[in-house]
Protein backbone atom coordinates (compact mmCIF):
# COMPACT_ATOMS: atom_id res chain seq x y z
CA UNK A 1 0.00 0.00 0.00
CA UNK A 2 2.66 2.47 1.09
CA UNK A 3 4.83 1.42 -1.82
CA UNK A 4 2.34 3.05 -4.18
CA UNK A 5 3.32 6.39 -2.68
CA UNK A 6 6.99 6.05 -3.56
CA UNK A 7 8.36 8.63 -6.00
CA UNK A 8 8.75 6.33 -8.99
CA UNK A 9 5.17 5.11 -8.71
CA UNK A 10 3.80 8.62 -8.32
CA UNK A 11 5.87 10.02 -11.14
CA UNK A 12 4.66 7.24 -13.41
CA UNK A 13 1.04 8.28 -12.83
CA UNK A 14 -0.01 9.56 -16.20
CA UNK A 15 -2.17 12.56 -16.80
CA UNK A 16 -4.73 10.11 -18.14
CA UNK A 17 -5.35 8.67 -14.66
CA UNK A 18 -5.90 12.14 -13.29
CA UNK A 19 -8.15 13.06 -16.21
CA UNK A 20 -10.23 9.95 -15.56
CA UNK A 21 -10.53 10.95 -11.92
CA UNK A 22 -11.68 14.42 -12.98
CA UNK A 23 -14.43 12.88 -15.14
CA UNK A 24 -15.48 10.73 -12.18
CA UNK A 25 -15.45 13.83 -9.98
CA UNK A 26 -17.72 15.72 -12.38
CA UNK A 27 -20.20 12.83 -12.45
CA UNK A 28 -20.28 12.31 -8.68
CA UNK A 29 -20.57 16.04 -7.91
CA UNK A 30 -23.32 16.46 -10.55
CA UNK A 31 -25.33 13.60 -9.01
CA UNK A 32 -24.61 14.88 -5.52
CA UNK A 33 -25.71 18.44 -6.30
CA UNK A 34 -28.83 17.27 -8.13
CA UNK A 35 -29.73 15.01 -5.23
CA UNK A 36 -29.01 17.55 -2.50
CA UNK A 37 -30.52 20.61 -4.20
CA UNK A 38 -33.53 19.09 -5.96
CA UNK A 39 -34.46 15.55 -4.89
CA UNK A 40 -33.84 15.74 -1.14
CA UNK A 41 -36.63 17.29 0.96
CA UNK A 42 -36.36 20.44 3.09
CA UNK A 43 -35.98 19.93 6.82
CA UNK A 44 -39.09 20.04 9.05
CA UNK A 45 -37.77 23.01 10.99
CA UNK A 46 -34.78 24.54 9.16
CA UNK A 47 -36.46 24.44 5.75
CA UNK A 48 -34.12 24.77 2.79
CA UNK A 49 -31.11 25.98 4.77
CA UNK A 50 -30.53 22.31 5.66
CA UNK A 51 -28.94 22.02 2.19
CA UNK A 52 -25.91 23.91 3.45
CA UNK A 53 -25.14 20.81 5.50
CA UNK A 54 -24.33 18.83 2.34
CA UNK A 55 -21.26 21.03 1.87
CA UNK A 56 -20.52 21.88 5.48
CA UNK A 57 -20.27 18.38 6.98
CA UNK A 58 -18.06 16.76 4.27
CA UNK A 59 -15.66 19.72 4.26
CA UNK A 60 -15.32 19.54 8.05
CA UNK A 61 -14.62 15.80 7.82
CA UNK A 62 -11.93 16.33 5.18
CA UNK A 63 -10.37 19.28 7.03
CA UNK A 64 -10.03 17.17 10.18
CA UNK A 65 -8.99 14.03 8.28
CA UNK A 66 -6.24 15.85 6.38
CA UNK A 67 -4.78 17.21 9.58
CA UNK A 68 -4.83 13.74 11.14
CA UNK A 69 -2.78 12.46 8.19
CA UNK A 70 -0.41 15.44 8.40
CA UNK A 71 0.07 14.83 12.14
CA UNK A 72 0.75 11.11 11.75
CA UNK A 73 3.11 11.74 8.82
CA UNK A 74 4.95 14.27 10.98
CA UNK A 75 5.37 11.75 13.80
CA UNK A 76 6.78 9.20 11.35
CA UNK A 77 8.94 11.93 9.87
CA UNK A 78 10.52 12.85 13.19
CA UNK A 79 10.94 9.26 14.36
CA UNK A 80 12.13 7.49 11.23
CA UNK A 81 13.48 10.47 9.23
CA UNK A 82 11.49 9.24 6.27
CA UNK A 83 12.11 11.50 3.27
CA UNK A 84 8.63 11.08 1.81
CA UNK A 85 6.61 12.01 4.88
CA UNK A 86 7.20 15.78 4.80
CA UNK A 87 6.32 15.88 1.09
CA UNK A 88 3.17 13.89 1.79
CA UNK A 89 2.13 16.16 4.66
CA UNK A 90 2.96 19.29 2.71
CA UNK A 91 0.76 18.24 -0.21
CA UNK A 92 -2.18 17.61 2.13
CA UNK A 93 -1.94 20.93 3.96
CA UNK A 94 -3.44 23.09 1.21
CA UNK A 95 -6.47 20.82 0.82
CA UNK A 96 -7.20 20.79 4.54
CA UNK A 97 -6.73 24.55 4.75
CA UNK A 98 -9.27 25.26 1.99
CA UNK A 99 -11.80 22.80 3.40
CA UNK A 100 -11.55 24.21 6.92
CA UNK A 101 -12.29 27.68 5.51
CA UNK A 102 -15.26 26.27 3.56
CA UNK A 103 -16.47 24.52 6.70
CA UNK A 104 -16.30 27.69 8.79
CA UNK A 105 -17.88 29.95 6.14
CA UNK A 106 -20.77 27.59 5.32
CA UNK A 107 -21.33 26.98 9.03
CA UNK A 108 -21.56 30.71 9.57
CA UNK A 109 -24.02 31.10 6.67
CA UNK A 110 -26.13 28.35 8.22
CA UNK A 111 -25.88 29.81 11.72
CA UNK A 112 -27.46 33.15 10.85
CA UNK A 113 -30.88 31.81 9.75
CA UNK A 114 -30.86 28.93 12.27
CA UNK A 115 -29.37 30.24 15.49
CA UNK A 116 -29.97 33.90 14.71
CA UNK A 117 -26.28 34.77 14.84
CA UNK A 118 -23.29 34.44 12.46
CA UNK A 119 -20.71 33.46 15.00
CA UNK A 120 -20.36 32.52 18.67
CA UNK A 121 -17.31 31.46 20.65
CA UNK A 122 -18.56 28.07 21.79
CA UNK A 123 -16.23 25.08 22.12
CA UNK A 124 -16.86 23.58 18.65
CA UNK A 125 -16.51 26.80 16.67
CA UNK A 126 -13.47 27.91 18.63
CA UNK A 127 -11.63 24.59 18.28
CA UNK A 128 -12.36 24.58 14.54
CA UNK A 129 -10.89 28.09 14.28
CA UNK A 130 -7.81 26.82 16.11
CA UNK A 131 -7.50 24.05 13.50
CA UNK A 132 -7.55 26.71 10.76
CA UNK A 133 -4.82 28.63 12.61
CA UNK A 134 -2.72 25.45 12.81
CA UNK A 135 -3.09 25.00 9.06
CA UNK A 136 -1.99 28.61 8.51
CA UNK A 137 1.00 28.17 10.84
CA UNK A 138 1.96 24.91 9.12
CA UNK A 139 1.79 26.38 5.62
CA UNK A 140 3.60 29.57 6.60
CA UNK A 141 6.51 27.61 8.10
CA UNK A 142 7.09 25.94 4.76
CA UNK A 143 6.72 29.25 2.95
CA UNK A 144 8.95 31.46 5.09
CA UNK A 145 11.69 29.21 6.46
CA UNK A 146 14.15 28.88 3.62
CA UNK A 147 16.33 26.06 4.97
CA UNK A 148 14.60 22.76 4.17
CA UNK A 149 15.77 20.89 7.29
CA UNK A 150 14.60 23.67 9.63
CA UNK A 151 11.24 24.07 7.93
CA UNK A 152 10.77 20.31 8.06
CA UNK A 153 11.41 20.07 11.81
CA UNK A 154 9.39 23.13 12.83
CA UNK A 155 6.38 22.26 10.67
CA UNK A 156 6.40 18.68 12.01
CA UNK A 157 6.33 19.95 15.59
CA UNK A 158 3.45 22.31 14.73
CA UNK A 159 1.52 19.44 13.16
CA UNK A 160 2.09 17.15 16.16
CA UNK A 161 0.95 19.84 18.60
CA UNK A 162 -2.08 20.45 16.37
CA UNK A 163 -2.94 16.76 16.57
CA UNK A 164 -4.11 17.30 20.16
CA UNK A 165 -6.75 19.68 18.89
CA UNK A 166 -8.51 17.01 16.81
CA UNK A 167 -10.15 15.01 19.62
CA UNK A 168 -11.13 18.34 21.20
CA UNK A 169 -12.97 19.32 17.99
CA UNK A 170 -14.60 15.91 17.74
CA UNK A 171 -15.79 15.64 21.33
CA UNK A 172 -16.32 19.34 22.13
CA UNK A 173 -20.06 18.95 21.55
CA UNK A 174 -20.23 16.01 23.99
CA UNK A 175 -17.90 17.27 26.70
CA UNK A 176 -19.34 20.76 27.07
CA UNK A 177 -22.59 22.58 26.46
CA UNK A 178 -22.24 24.22 23.05
CA UNK A 179 -24.52 26.08 20.66
CA UNK A 180 -23.42 23.68 17.92
CA UNK A 181 -25.53 20.53 17.86
CA UNK A 182 -24.00 17.11 18.63
CA UNK A 183 -23.00 14.76 15.78
CA UNK A 184 -25.86 13.21 13.83
CA UNK A 185 -23.68 10.41 12.47
CA UNK A 186 -21.87 8.33 15.07
CA UNK A 187 -20.25 4.91 15.03
CA UNK A 188 -22.22 3.67 18.00
CA UNK A 189 -25.82 4.51 17.15
CA UNK A 190 -28.13 4.92 14.17
CA UNK A 191 -27.81 8.28 12.37
CA UNK A 192 -30.37 10.89 13.36
CA UNK A 193 -30.52 12.14 9.78
CA UNK A 194 -33.39 10.80 7.71
CA UNK A 195 -32.11 8.58 4.86
CA UNK A 196 -33.40 10.98 2.18
CA UNK A 197 -30.89 13.48 3.53
CA UNK A 198 -28.16 10.97 4.39
CA UNK A 199 -27.81 9.74 0.78
CA UNK A 200 -26.95 13.16 -0.75
CA UNK A 201 -24.63 13.81 2.19
CA UNK A 202 -22.69 10.62 1.44
CA UNK A 203 -22.56 11.34 -2.31
CA UNK A 204 -21.28 14.87 -1.68
CA UNK A 205 -18.70 13.46 0.73
CA UNK A 206 -17.49 11.00 -1.92
CA UNK A 207 -17.29 13.83 -4.47
CA UNK A 208 -15.21 16.03 -2.21
CA UNK A 209 -13.02 13.05 -1.32
CA UNK A 210 -12.30 12.41 -5.01
CA UNK A 211 -11.52 16.10 -5.45
CA UNK A 212 -9.07 15.92 -2.54
CA UNK A 213 -7.40 12.82 -3.99
CA UNK A 214 -6.93 14.53 -7.37
CA UNK A 215 -5.43 17.67 -5.82
CA UNK A 216 -3.28 15.53 -3.54
CA UNK A 217 -1.86 13.44 -6.43
CA UNK A 218 -1.06 16.53 -8.48
CA UNK A 219 0.49 18.36 -5.55
CA UNK A 220 2.45 15.33 -4.36
CA UNK A 221 3.89 14.79 -7.82
CA UNK A 222 4.98 18.43 -7.94
CA UNK A 223 6.53 18.26 -4.49
CA UNK A 224 8.57 15.16 -5.42
CA UNK A 225 9.85 16.81 -8.60
CA UNK A 226 10.74 19.98 -6.67
CA UNK A 227 12.53 17.92 -4.02
CA UNK A 228 14.53 16.00 -6.61
CA UNK A 229 15.50 19.19 -8.43
CA UNK A 230 16.68 20.94 -5.26
CA UNK A 231 18.77 17.89 -4.32
CA UNK A 232 20.39 17.85 -7.75
CA UNK A 233 21.38 21.48 -7.39
CA UNK A 234 23.07 20.75 -4.07
CA UNK A 235 25.20 17.98 -5.55
CA UNK A 236 26.40 20.23 -8.35
Amino acid sequence: MLKKLFPNKILSIKNKTINNLIVLLAIVIAIGLFYSLIISPPDYIQGDSVRIMYVHVPSSFIAIGCFAFIGIASVLNLVFKNKLMPLLAKSLSGIGFIFSIISIVTGSLWGKPTWGIWWVWDARLTSMTILLLFYIAYILTWKFIKKYEDANKISSVIAIVGLFNLPIIKYSVDWWETLHQPSSITLTSAPTIHYTMLIPLIIMFLGMLIYSVIIFLMKYKTEIIKFKLSNKKKIK
Partner: protein, 142 residues
Amino acid sequence: MLVKKVKSRILFLFLLFISFSIIIFVILKSLEENVVYFLSPTEIFNKTDISLNKKIRIGGLVKINSINKKNTSINFIITDLKNEIIVTYEGLVPNLFAEGKGVIAEGNLKDKKYFLAKKILAKHDENYMPPEVKKALENTNN
Protein backbone atom coordinates in the same frame (compact mmCIF):
# COMPACT_ATOMS: atom_id res chain seq x y z
CA MET B 1 15.52 -4.55 15.54
CA LEU B 2 14.98 -0.83 15.83
CA VAL B 3 18.02 1.36 15.82
CA LYS B 4 18.88 2.89 19.18
CA LYS B 5 18.42 6.40 17.82
CA VAL B 6 14.93 5.60 16.61
CA LYS B 7 14.09 4.04 19.96
CA SER B 8 15.12 7.15 21.84
CA ARG B 9 13.08 9.33 19.48
CA ILE B 10 10.00 7.19 20.06
CA LEU B 11 10.51 7.40 23.82
CA PHE B 12 10.95 11.17 23.56
CA LEU B 13 7.76 11.62 21.52
CA PHE B 14 5.87 9.31 23.84
CA LEU B 15 6.88 11.31 26.93
CA LEU B 16 6.07 14.51 25.06
CA PHE B 17 2.66 13.09 24.22
CA ILE B 18 1.91 12.18 27.85
CA SER B 19 3.02 15.52 29.24
CA PHE B 20 1.17 17.46 26.55
CA SER B 21 -2.03 15.52 27.20
CA ILE B 22 -1.79 16.35 30.89
CA ILE B 23 -1.09 20.04 30.18
CA ILE B 24 -4.06 20.34 27.82
CA PHE B 25 -6.32 18.46 30.23
CA VAL B 26 -5.37 20.80 33.08
CA ILE B 27 -5.86 23.92 30.93
CA LEU B 28 -9.28 22.80 29.72
CA LYS B 29 -10.29 21.76 33.22
CA SER B 30 -9.37 25.14 34.66
CA LEU B 31 -11.08 26.98 31.82
CA GLU B 32 -14.20 24.83 32.03
CA GLU B 33 -16.37 27.69 33.23
CA ASN B 34 -15.52 29.64 30.09
CA VAL B 35 -15.61 26.71 27.69
CA VAL B 36 -19.17 25.85 28.67
CA TYR B 37 -21.33 28.05 26.47
CA PHE B 38 -24.45 28.10 28.63
CA LEU B 39 -25.84 26.90 31.95
CA SER B 40 -29.02 24.93 32.45
CA PRO B 41 -31.72 26.11 34.91
CA THR B 42 -30.71 23.28 37.28
CA GLU B 43 -27.07 24.43 37.26
CA ILE B 44 -28.26 27.96 38.06
CA PHE B 45 -30.45 26.53 40.84
CA ASN B 46 -27.51 24.63 42.40
CA LYS B 47 -25.03 27.47 42.01
CA THR B 48 -24.17 29.31 45.21
CA ASP B 49 -22.06 32.19 43.89
CA ILE B 50 -24.21 34.02 41.38
CA SER B 51 -23.38 37.59 40.50
CA LEU B 52 -26.39 39.43 39.14
CA ASN B 53 -24.32 41.97 37.23
CA LYS B 54 -22.30 39.51 35.21
CA LYS B 55 -23.50 38.61 31.71
CA ILE B 56 -24.34 34.91 31.52
CA ARG B 57 -26.09 32.53 29.15
CA ILE B 58 -28.77 30.06 30.07
CA GLY B 59 -30.09 27.33 27.84
CA GLY B 60 -32.79 24.70 27.71
CA LEU B 61 -36.13 24.08 26.09
CA VAL B 62 -38.88 26.65 25.65
CA LYS B 63 -41.70 25.37 27.84
CA ILE B 64 -44.82 24.51 25.87
CA ASN B 65 -47.62 27.12 26.18
CA SER B 66 -45.31 29.52 27.98
CA ILE B 67 -44.68 32.10 25.24
CA ASN B 68 -46.43 35.38 25.96
CA LYS B 69 -45.99 38.22 23.46
CA LYS B 70 -46.80 41.83 24.35
CA ASN B 71 -46.01 44.43 21.67
CA THR B 72 -42.24 44.19 21.28
CA SER B 73 -41.51 42.27 24.47
CA ILE B 74 -41.79 38.55 24.89
CA ASN B 75 -41.99 36.36 27.98
CA PHE B 76 -41.32 32.66 28.08
CA ILE B 77 -40.04 29.92 30.34
CA ILE B 78 -36.78 28.04 29.83
CA THR B 79 -36.93 24.57 31.30
CA ASP B 80 -34.63 21.56 31.54
CA LEU B 81 -37.59 19.50 32.74
CA LYS B 82 -36.39 19.81 36.36
CA ASN B 83 -36.09 23.53 36.99
CA GLU B 84 -37.48 26.56 35.22
CA ILE B 85 -36.48 30.18 34.68
CA ILE B 86 -38.78 32.94 33.46
CA VAL B 87 -37.18 34.99 30.67
CA THR B 88 -38.13 38.46 29.50
CA TYR B 89 -36.78 39.77 26.21
CA GLU B 90 -37.31 42.85 24.13
CA GLY B 91 -36.79 42.52 20.38
CA LEU B 92 -37.01 40.05 17.54
CA VAL B 93 -36.53 36.35 18.14
CA PRO B 94 -34.88 34.03 15.56
CA ASN B 95 -37.15 32.24 13.10
CA LEU B 96 -36.49 28.87 14.65
CA PHE B 97 -37.49 30.02 18.11
CA ALA B 98 -40.51 27.88 19.04
CA GLU B 99 -42.19 26.10 21.92
CA GLY B 100 -40.60 22.78 22.79
CA LYS B 101 -37.38 23.70 20.94
CA GLY B 102 -33.91 24.47 22.25
CA VAL B 103 -33.05 28.06 23.12
CA ILE B 104 -30.16 30.01 24.58
CA ALA B 105 -30.66 33.40 26.25
CA GLU B 106 -27.86 35.84 26.98
CA GLY B 107 -28.31 38.52 29.63
CA ASN B 108 -28.52 38.98 33.38
CA LEU B 109 -30.24 37.10 36.17
CA LYS B 110 -32.55 39.19 38.33
CA ASP B 111 -32.78 36.32 40.79
CA LYS B 112 -32.61 32.54 40.46
CA LYS B 113 -36.02 32.34 38.81
CA TYR B 114 -36.06 35.46 36.66
CA PHE B 115 -33.84 36.35 33.71
CA LEU B 116 -33.58 39.53 31.65
CA ALA B 117 -32.34 38.55 28.18
CA LYS B 118 -30.42 40.84 25.82
CA LYS B 119 -30.01 38.26 23.07
CA ILE B 120 -31.95 35.13 22.10
CA LEU B 121 -30.42 32.28 20.07
CA ALA B 122 -32.27 29.25 18.79
CA LYS B 123 -30.46 25.96 19.33
CA HIS B 124 -30.90 23.27 16.73
CA ASP B 125 -30.70 19.61 17.70
CA GLU B 126 -29.05 16.76 15.80
CA ASN B 127 -32.28 15.53 14.18
CA TYR B 128 -32.81 16.12 10.49
CA MET B 129 -35.95 14.93 8.72
CA PRO B 130 -38.45 15.96 6.06
CA PRO B 131 -41.77 17.52 7.22
CA GLU B 132 -43.80 14.44 6.21
CA VAL B 133 -41.72 12.19 8.44
CA LYS B 134 -42.17 14.61 11.33
CA LYS B 135 -45.94 14.53 10.81
CA ALA B 136 -45.96 10.74 10.65
CA LEU B 137 -43.93 10.58 13.87
CA GLU B 138 -46.36 12.93 15.61
CA ASN B 139 -49.32 10.86 14.45
CA THR B 140 -47.89 7.63 15.81
CA ASN B 141 -47.07 9.32 19.12
CA ASN B 142 -50.58 10.69 19.61
